[in-house]
């Protein structure tokens, strides 16, 4: 029972980070219809920017996170302008593969600039001593990630529902033609979506990278948002958040219970396998829009 509780809690804590990255993914898909496979590399870029600011320049951690947000926004705008905008209206394969090309490019650049070694935040941001709440043992890193994700999630949801730009994004997602005729600038909407995705992924990467140190393989953790968004339904913001939490919990539960029976890293592949099975039964995810196709 205690093990179950422990796994659930740490699952939710990690899942909140996935939820944040998944939110960024969903915003891009909702507003511009781009299926982004470069999410893992977006997390890497943000994490490494923050780490360099913190380690090499001695900037305090919150300011470093802020710096990585700013850098993420700039990169997001650049990527949207240079790579994605010329491809508006092109076939799905083209748009997906351009994000794959982007992911290779970013991974190569990250490797060139920051090398292959695993690096850690030095001096450590979070104390190594775990926090004990009754029978539960919680690492401060997870807690920090959880709090930061909650703050950013709240901020992005407020942005999406309460501000003028957020409403423009919702309108574009709903009906692009109608939004355009009402004077919404689709270009602005796409740019904001990419900036937000880079920012969310970057913050996710910072916390994923401070769990076990930061190296290229953290990018693979960023890929776990794909099961999360599919589970939630591709174009649902609450779905992305719920999907991220569910994937985090599932990953921890399989790591805790199944690993003894089927050894060898089932924790890493279970979300993907689970998603493949879910797709068979609910092709549009839990809260996605059911698309009725016509000839």
């Amino acid at each position: 029972m205690e093990l179950l509780l422990q796994l659930l809690v740490s699952g939710i804590l990690v899942g909140s980070i996935y939820a944040l990255v998944a939110l960024g993914w969903t915003l891009i898909y909702k507003s511009s219809g781009v299926l982004n496979l470069a999410m893992g590399e977006l997390t890497l870029v943000g994490a490494y920017v923050c780490l360099s600011l913190y380690n090499n320049w001695g900037v305090p951690f919150p300011v470093a996170v802020l710096g990585s947000l700013v850098m993420g926004a700039i990169l997001g705008l650049l990527v949207e302008r240079l790579v994605l905008r010329p491809l508006i209206g092109k076939p799905v394969l083209t748009v997906i593969m351009v994000t794959v090309g982007l992911s290779f490019l970013l991974r190569g650049l990250v490797g060139l600039i920051w090398g292959t070694d695993t690096v850690v935040f030095d001096p450590p941001v979070f104390p190594a001593e775990p926090i004990r709440i009754g029978p539960l043992i919680i690492s401060p890193v997870f807690l920090g990630g959880f709090v930061a994700s909650l703050i950013l999630l709240a901020f992005f949801v407020w942005f999406f529902q309460g501000t003028r730009w957020g409403l423009a994004m919702q309108a574009t997602a709903d009906d692009q033609m109608a939004a355009l005729s009402l004077g919404v600038s689709a270009k602005l909407v796409y740019a904001i979506a990419w900036a937000i995705a880079f920012m969310a992924a970057g913050v996710g990467g910072i916390f994923l990278g401070s769990i076990n140190g930061l190296n290229i393989s953290v990018g693979h953790l960023g890929l776990l948002v794909l099961p999360a968004v599919v589970l939630g339904g591709l174009n649902s913001v609450p779905g992305a958040i719920a999907g991220g939490l569910i994937i985090g919990v599932l990953q921890n539960l399989t790591g805790g219970y199944l690993d003894g029976f089927i050894p060898g890293g089932i924790k890493d592949i279970f979300p993907l396998a689970f998603m493949a099975v879910i797709l068979l039964f609910k092709p549009y995810g839990l809260w996605g829009w059911v698309k009725i196709e016509r000839v």
């Binding site: 299926l35 090309g101 490019l105 993907l272």
Partner: protein
């Protein structure tokens, strides 16, 4: 479709359906084959031949991707999984028991049979095809992004889990399956060097290319193209889309198995690291750069990307960061091709050919 040289007309359906419609085209292709079979292997260095083998392997593997994406419209990002299945099946059945075979925890009695290499190729094709159908099953219900994620799941489940953790234990060889030189034989022909592998590669590539071109003209091929262009319309017209999609997965898996079981001739050992996810993405890049849906495009794309790799390699030789230059070059190539030449190299080749065919009357 190609345009005919100025002044050439078809007078019968037989002519119009022929593989090489004009004598010049037949001559050109036969000349190319003679050069490839008889001149290249005896004049080029071993290094050049090993590059040719890499190109051939990329062509074989990318043909399966071309069949799925270019013909059937089923996006796949996990083709390396099926190539890995082919390579492992072929290696496991061809190798005889290792010296320390007393420790063999899994199905040791079934494998280590020392099966003839050609038979193991057939078996590899079959098993890789069936494995591919297993992961193609969701395509009956989902399309587009869902299929991409299923094939990604295939990649990680097959290579990072089943093969790395379980299959690698067969025979107690440890993580790697080393392939002693001379253990792969076709009859009395031992495939030991790059030159032997080159001949096998050329035979396989020629066969697969001819098969791919002809598949487009058969009933399944036309059904695949109908599904790619509009699956709902195809279903209304009476194409059994589930059956033909699964057939496409089977055929692509078989091509992957062929590629994998060929590639062990050029490897000293088989390991899961040969078949990581970026290989799958690389092969999709090959068909994008070559041209989606064009069989010759697969060949152009493979040549382009592998030669680019050789070029990057020569600049950054003995540099640990080589891997990253490779990633950057590939990423840039894919992005630039999609932005500026979305039809790929095969379209450029088509334009060049037409310019000369129609010369001097090159208006359309």
């Amino acid at each position: 479709m190609f345009r005919l040289p100025a002044g050439t007309y078809f007078q019968s359906y037989r002519q119009a359906h022929s593989f090489w419609p004009t004598r010049f085209m037949a001559f050109r292709m036969i000349f190319l084959l003679i050069v490839l079979f008889a001149v290249v292997p005896f004049t080029f260095s071993n290094y050049a031949l090993s590059i040719a083998n890499r190109i051939g392997y990329t062509i074989l593997a990318a043909m399966g991707v071309q069949l799925l994406i270019g013909f059937t419209g089923q996006l796949t990002l996990g083709h390396a999984a099926f190539v890995a299945v082919g390579a492992y099946v072929s290696a496991i059945f061809t190798l005889t028991a290792a010296d320390n075979a007393s420790f063999s925890p899994f199905w040791g009695f079934l494998t280590q049979t020392g099966m003839a290499y050609p038979l193991s190729i057939l078996l590899a094709c079959l098993i890789a095809g069936l494995w591919s159908v297993l992961f193609g099953l969701p395509s009956a219900r989902v399309k587009g992004f869902g299929i991409i994620l299923t094939t990604m799941a295939a990649q990680f489940i097959t290579v990072d889990f089943v093969i790395a953790q379980y299959v690698s234990q067969i025979g107690g060889r440890g993580h790697y399956f080393s392939i002693p030189p001379g253990s792969l034989k076709i009859g009395g022909w031992a495939l030991t060097g790059d030159r032997d592998a080159y001949f096998l590669m050329l035979i396989l590539v020629t066969g697969v290319t001819v098969a791919m071109i002809n598949w487009k003209r058969t009933r399944p091929g036309r059904a695949w193209i109908a599904i790619r262009d509009n699956d709902i319309a195809a279903e209304i017209l009476g194409v059994d889309i589930v059956r033909y999609k699964l057939l496409a997965y089977f055929a692509a898996g078989m091509l992957a198995g062929l590629a994998g079981s060929f590639w062990i001739t050029s490897l000293f050992f088989v390991s899961p690291e040969h078949f990581v996810w970026s290989n799958s993405l690389w092969w999709v890049g090959v068909i994008l750069i070559g041209g989606v849906g064009a069989v010759d495009g697969t060949i152009f794309g493979a040549i382009f990307l592998e030669l680019m790799l050789v070029l990057v390699n020569s600049f950054a030789v003995a540099n640990i960061l080589f891997l990253y230059f490779k990633d950057i070059a590939f990423g840039l190539a894919v992005i630039l091709f999609l932005l500026y030449e979305p039809n790929g190299l095969s379209y450029r080749w088509w334009q060049v050919k037409n310019y000369f065919y129609l010369w001097p009357f090159s208006y359309k």
